[in-house]
Amino acid sequence: MADLKAILLAEDDPNDVELTLEALAEYNLANEVVVVQDGAEALDYLYRRGQHADRGNGNPAVVLLDIKMPKVDGLEVLRTIKEDPSLKAVPVVILTSSREERDLVESYRLGVNAYVVKPVQFLQFVESVRQLGQFWAVINEPPLGSRKPR
């Protein structure tokens, strides 16, 4: 477990958090999923400050960001990550229900690694998250035999 990097999920909506975690669990991801409620907390986690001051070393395997969040929104977190040399390498995925073009354009401008519109349909949503999780947390760094047995 400690060998696997965590997945940071920044999502203020508990329903979405639950659905996301359910979807990730569906596919037996071994990674720890750290859930934060807003952008500010996400940054606290990334910079190990506030309530996350004493967390273990290392950046997350991937950051899943909702755009519309209280305090600091997802695009702001994205910008901070991509502007910080120490965080720049962390893959960031924007997970959002918005199809608004300006969000898409702005995300890619800031250097997002993937942009996923949350499908309303649960199965589609699960599939999206599955692909994301596998791609970033597993396939990129295949931890052989590390999968949590179901």
Binding site: S97, V120, F122
Partner: protein, 804 residues
């Protein structure tokens, strides 16, 4: 005049005003001193030679006479000299005798009284010897004799002295003894003999001199006689000679002078001699040549003058003070159609048909320019109308008259110069007519037209401008400027424009300027000013034309105001749009989240509680999930629709046909398992937003595909036609379910559907989107159809949208 080598005659200098170069000997001799006195027998030399010889002869005669004359006193002197010598000699003899007498007397008597004469005689003797010595100094013979004489006298005196001494010392006897010795006598004799010899000598000399003097006088007489004769002969000869050498040529010169004086200017003196007369002749010939040249030149100039006067177009008439015509050139004859007349000034008006400029009143004869000129009065630019039987149409003349005066200032007559101004007058009339026409024309124009001079002073203004300026007659505008007509502010503005044109020489085009209209209301004009140049290209003023643009300005201002309103409206719209955007953004994020949750958790419930749920419960859950999805779809479609209304359009050239083919290809999966016949006609290039137009085509074709689902064979056609109005019309036709034309107006409304979702799924946003996009491209949409009879959807694009 004496002419010598040092004073040669200079050749005649060419007269600086002479028209032709002087010819003849004087010129041919060039600039050197042509007369050399040395080797030439000049007249002077001839005269000198002719008179020199007689002069020499006369000189000789004179000399001889003079010498004789000089010799006469000499001779006389010598004679006197000789006589004196003879006298002294006689005197000496006398003194000697006295001495002897006194000595004897003393000796005999012993009386002392005799010693006195003795001494006197002795002294005299010595004196005589001295005198003789002086007088005969020139004669050695006499000197020699004188020496003997002196010696003899000395001895005689010594003997006498001795006798006296003897008498004194030894007495009478001793003294007598000595006398008896005879010594004294002998000495005395000898002395007398010498004196006689000397007397002879002197007498001989006297004789010689007298003879010589006579001979000289004789010679002098013959010399002067013959000499005078010879001289006379020579002088006579020389006179003849000189006469022949001088009077002949002088005569010829006189003849020549008479010839030339009588007008024969080509007459020349033939004289080749190089003496003064030759020079004179050559000078004379030169003078004659120059005279001839001058006369020729004068004649030439007279000829020129005459030919000028004969050939010029102006009439020239000269008359003397009595009014007799002296000159009447052909032009005068041609213009007047009449030649000179013998009648006097009083008849000229009648004879030549002269009238005052009114062409009716006969010209007062005394006022005619020529009549005035011969009275000594000048007249300039006098206009006379001439008409007579030889000139029935009449002619207008412009005359100038001048009196003619001699060098002494006396009036000799008068001249009048005139030309025919009839044509010019006609041209002027035509010009005036043209000017009036032009004036009428510009006065009819509503534009303000003006001409200004280089100082911005008006030269001309048309009626429209004069109304603005408030003046009635065109003359009143001349010389005035804008400051006389307009408020200072406007006048300064116009003046500045004038100065730009006058200064740069470039036209000022469509300058918009304020003005005050005739009613005093502010108005606007558009002014164009163009520089005016003279023949030399210098700017002499400007011409301007202004038209009233008040209405246009008002319209422009209205447009400006409308634009401003529009801008404000657009700003408002933008604000609304932004709000809408924020709204749709939040819809996109927040409205969809609960749906997603409903769907997600319903799904989770099915997964987790599936086995324990009955069929009905599962169906409920499915319905919940389905409804959530449908609402999600509706929201997405609405957001697209909303975006289509707001999104910025980027118009480019679009090949509709390509767009249609791409759409058909992408619809292929939906047509799987069906028989669909696609017909894609020729579609034009249009101008539009690619994404939007693609949406239009997609919507219409997918609709057609959807609503033909019930057909065994679907037939779908997309094509175009050119509307007579210029619009491009695109249509999509199918043989599908069609619709009731009664509801055709609802087809393009949002959420308006003519079929149930059960029959044909859909949200009712697609056609609304089509309409919105086409409207934004400036086109229209409409549809035709019948229930189960298929449907045709049309949209048009305005012509200018079509890419040419």
């Amino acid at each position: 005049m004496v002419v010598g080598p040092d004073r040669c005659l200079q050749p005649m200098e060419a007269d600086p005003i002479a028209v032709t170069p002087p010819t003849g000997p004087a010129r041919a001799l060039g600039g050197s001193c042509w007369y050399e006195g040395g080797g030439v027998m000049t007249v002077t030399n001839k005269v000198r030679t002719g008179f020199a010889f007689p002069l020499v002869i006369l000189a000789i005669v004179g000399a001889v006479s003079w010498r004789n004359a000089v010799q006469i006193p000499e001779t006389v002197r010598w004679v006197e000299h000789t006589l004196k010598v003879l006298e002294i000699l006689r005197d000496s003899t006398a003194s000697l005798s006295e001495l002897e007498y006194a000595t004897r007397s003393y000796i005999l008597t012993g009386e002392r009284q005799y010693l006195e004469p003795y001494r006197t005689a002795e002294t005299k003797l010595h004196q005589r010897v001295r005198e003789l010595r002086g007088l005969t100094a020139d004669n050695p013979n006499q000197q020699r004799r004188l020496d003997e004489f002196a010696e003899a006298v000395g001895q005689r005196i010594a003997v006498a002295k001795h006798g006296i001494e003897l008498r004194d010392q030894q007495g009478l006897d001793a003294a007598l003894e000595s006398v008896r010795s005879g010594l004294g006598n002998r000495l005395g004799e000898r002395t007398r003999m010498i004196v006689r010899q000397m007397e002879d000598e002197e007498n001989q000399l006297l004789d010689q001199r007298q003879r010589r003097s006579q001979a000289n006088a004789k010679a002098a007489i013959s010399v002067s006689g013959y000499g005078t004769l010879v001289a006379f002969l020579f002088v006579s000869f020389a006179s003849v000679l000189i006469a022949s050498h001088i009077t002949g040529p002088v005569g010829r010169l006189v003849e020549a002078a008479e010839q030339i004086g009588s007008g024969a200017l080509d007459y020349r003196v033939a004289m080749e001699s190089q003496d003064e007369l030759g020079v004179l002749a050559k000078a004379f010939n030169g003078m004659a040549a120059r005279l001839q040249a001058a006369q020729k030149e004068l004649q030439h100039q007279t000829n020129i003058l005459e030919s000028v006067l004969t050939s010029i177009d102006d009439g020239v008439v000269v008359a003397d003070t009595a009014g007799r015509f002296l000159f009447f050139n052909p032009a005068a004859e041609r213009i007047l159609q009449m030649g000179p007349t013998d009648s006097g000034p009083g008849d000229w008006t009648e004879r030549y048909g002269c009238f005052l400029p009114d062409a009716k009143t006969p010209y007062p004869p005394g006022d005619l320019p020529l009549a005035r000129a011969i009275r000594g009065e000048s007249s300039d630019d006098v206009e006379i109308f001439v008409r007579h039987s030889g000139l029935p149409q009449g002619a207008w003349l412009m005359l100038t008259g001048r009196p003619l005066k001699g060098e002494d200032g006396a009036l000799r007559g008068g001249v009048v110069v005139f030309n025919d101004t009839t044509e010019r007058r006609h041209a002027q009339e035509a010009l005036t007519k043209e000017r009036n026409l032009l004036r009428t024309l510009i006065d009819q124009l509503p534009e303000y037209i003006f001409v200004k001079d280089a100082q911005s002073g008006y030269l001309l203004a048309n009626a429209a401008l004069m109304r603005v300026q408030g003046i009635a007659s065109p003359e009143k505008v001349v010389g005035r400027n804008d400051f006389d007509f307009f408020p200072n502010e406007l006048a300064e503005r116009y003046r500045a424009g004038d100065q730009v044109v006058l200064g740069s020489g470039e036209a000022l085009v469509d300058q918009e300027e304020p003005i005050v209209d005739p009613a005093g209301n502010p108005a606007w004009i558009s002014t164009t000013k163009v520089p005016l140049r003279d023949a030399g290209g210098s700017i002499i003023g400007l011409v301007g034309i202004c038209h009233d643009i008040t209405e246009r300005r008002q319209t422009q201002e209205m447009i400006k105001k409308l634009n401003e309103d529009l801008r404000l409206r657009a700003l408002e719209l933008e604000t609304v749009n932004k709000e809408l955007e924020a709204f749709s953004y939040s819809v996109s994020h927040d409205l969809k989240a609960p749906l997603r949750h409903i769907d997600g958790f319903a799904e989770l419930l099915v997964n987790s509680a599936g086995p324990i749920l009955d069929e009905r419960s599962r169906r409920y859950l499915n319905t919940i999930s389905h409804s959530a999805k449908r609402l999600g779809q509706l929201i997405d479609d609405l957001l697209v629709f909303s975006r289509m209304g707001r999104a910025e359009m980027r118009a480019t050239r679009l090949p509709l046909e390509q767009l249609a083919r791409d759409a058909v290809r992408e619809l292929d999966p939906d047509a799987q398992g069906r028989i669909v016949s696609w017909t894609i006609g020729a579609l034009p290039l249009v101008q539009g937003d690619p994404a939007m137009m693609r949406l239009v085509i997609d919507n219409l074709l997918s609709n057609a595909l959807k609503y033909t689902r019930t057909r065994a064979q679907a037939e779908i056609e997309i094509g175009s036609r050119q509307d007579p109005s210029g619009e491009v019309v695109i249509f999509v036709r199918d043989n599908g379910a069609g619709f009731d034309m009664q509801y055709a107006h609802k087809l393009f409304g949002v959420f308006q559907r003519l079929h149930s979702t059960k029959e044909f799924e859909g949200t009712g946003v697609g056609l609304a989107n089509v309409r919105r996009i086409i409207h934004r491209h400036g086109g229209r949409t409409w549809a035709e159809g019948a229930v189960d009879g298929g449907a045709t959807f049309y949209f048009s694009l305005p012509k200018f949208m079509e890419a040419a």
